[in-house]
């Protein structure tokens, strides 16, 4: 397996979030950001534990969870591969992107800094409810 690893896992031990859930979340995040695409192979369990020094069962569990969510599929003898994407690449939403750019220019013109803009966006997301 000489290929570059597709994703590097990190564990935050002090966060209180169970390890397997952190792994799942990091895969989902990578899918959203387009770092992982359908057809990419996830690192083998052995490679993950060599990187992060956690229990292999933890990795098995995370991979099983991802499979239950339909995001990955295991091919016996080959490994675990991404099946579905989560990202919505900006190019697929040109209208939304243009609207967003207009709104940001208006916010800047009104005197809002980057931090205030981000806070407004977060508040709006909260009040409007979340969709996966």
């Amino acid at each position: 397996m000489a290929a570059e690893p597709t994703i590097q896992f990190r564990l935050d031990r002090s966060s209180g979030v169970p390890a397997y859930r952190q792994l799942v979340d990091q895969v989902r995040q990578a899918l959203r950001l387009g770092i992982l695409r359908p057809g990419d192979q996830l690192p083998t369990v052995r490679d993950v534990v060599k990187q992060v020094a956690i229990n292999p069962n933890t990795v098995h569990r995370a991979y099983r969870d991802l499979e239950h969510q339909g995001l990955t599929e295991g091919r016996p003898g080959s490994g675990t591969f991404i099946r579905r994407s989560l990202s919505k690449v900006p190019e697929e939403q040109p209208a939304l992107l243009r609207q967003l750019e207009q709104w940001i220019s208006a916010a800047r013109a009104a005197g809002l800094g980057d931090e205030a803009i981000a806070a407004l966006v977060a508040q709006a997301m909260r009040t409007s409810g979340r969709k996966t």
């Binding site: 052995r46 990187q51 020094a53 229990n55 292999p56």
Partner: protein, 301 residues
């Protein structure tokens, strides 16, 4: 699932004091079980009994269903033992330690052993005596794992290692476990070292088993209750330890508390806090036991 290691009423006495007492536990095959407790609690005694280097005073210890016999080549071939003192031959070179492993173990995997040392950047021509502590521990672990044992008994494998060496050693260990499904039984007196790698935890204190359960169950079964002093003991739980400050009383309990009043706050303790509570509880019980001269109540098994 068969048990890789099983003990029944196991005890070991040294002259006047007991190193281990009434130890009954089971380590499932394929699991990574941590053994935690203060120094002198009996962790090394238990591991030595399992390795066949000690003889039980009471009870039995069996590995893969057979009572441990230190002169049985079958037992010796299936069990890898890593001693706290990490004995190696100081005048040997690293590659000679590998030859040692190869000559004394018919099931030796020489390629894997070389690969591990290469990944860890340990020079093969260096004398053992000139290696750092971390490197010596890594070589000792390589000798243990190289014979492809089904069960690994590790006594304080990462004690007094710097963080880098600790991580490297655990990485190598986890990599092997992922590949071969080896059962691992390792001890430490630092919980945070064990938490990321263990499925199960056994708490040993005052030479007895205080708790033996999966890490997940331990975390979900235990709760931290904070209430004003004086606080009546809540129903449906077992108090493991309690601390009282001027106005507050903090209890660490096992079980789901029922009928808690509004004055109580609950929180989720982390593994460190839970283990600490058991160790504190033991010392209180021991003192009470000495005073009352009766048998102290057993912790949950």
């Amino acid at each position: 699932m068969t048990a890789a290691l099983e003990t029944e009423g196991l005890g070991r006495r040294y002259r006047t004091n007991w190193g281990l007492r009434d130890c009954t536990l089971s380590v499932p095959e394929g699991s990574i079980t941590g053994l935690v407790g203060p120094n002198g609690a009996g962790k090394s005694t238990l591991l030595r009994l399992a390795a066949g280097l000690s003889r039980p005073t009471t009870g039995t210890v069996s590995i893969f269903g057979r009572v441990v016999d230190p002169n049985s080549v079958d037992h010796l071939g299936r069990v890898g033992y890593f001693d706290q003192l990490r004995p190696l031959y100081a005048s040997f070179r690293v590659k000679e330690m590998l030859t040692f492993g190869r000559r004394l173990n018919p099931n030796w995997d020489d390629d894997a052993a070389h690969r591990w040392l290469e990944d860890l950047d340990i020079p093969l021509n260096q004398r053992i005596g000139k290696l750092s502590l971390g490197q010596q521990a890594e070589v000792a672990l390589t000798v243990c794992m190289g014979k492809r044992p089904d069960l690994l008994l590790l006594d304080e494998p990462v004690a007094s290692l710097d963080p880098l060496a600790r991580r490297q050693l655990l990485q190598t260990l986890m990599g092997t476990v992922a590949e071969r499904g080896t059962t691992v039984f390792l001890s430490s007196h630092i919980v945070s070292e064990l938490e990321p790698v263990c499925d199960r935890l056994i708490i040993l204190s005052a030479s007895r088993v205080q708790l033996s359960d999966s890490v997940e169950s331990i975390l979900s079964d235990h709760h931290l209750l904070v209430g004003p002093r004086p606080a009546p003991a809540p129903a449906g739980v077992e108090v493991i330890s309690s601390t009282e400050t001027g106005r507050q009383s903090t209890l660490l309990v096992r079980g789901a508390p029922t009928g808690l009043g509004p004055t109580w706050e609950t929180a989720q303790p982390d593994l460190d806090a839970i283990v600490l509570a058991y160790l504190e509880g033991t010392s209180i019980q021991a003192r009470q036991g000495e005073a009352a001269a009766g048998a102290p109540s057993e912790g949950p098994r």
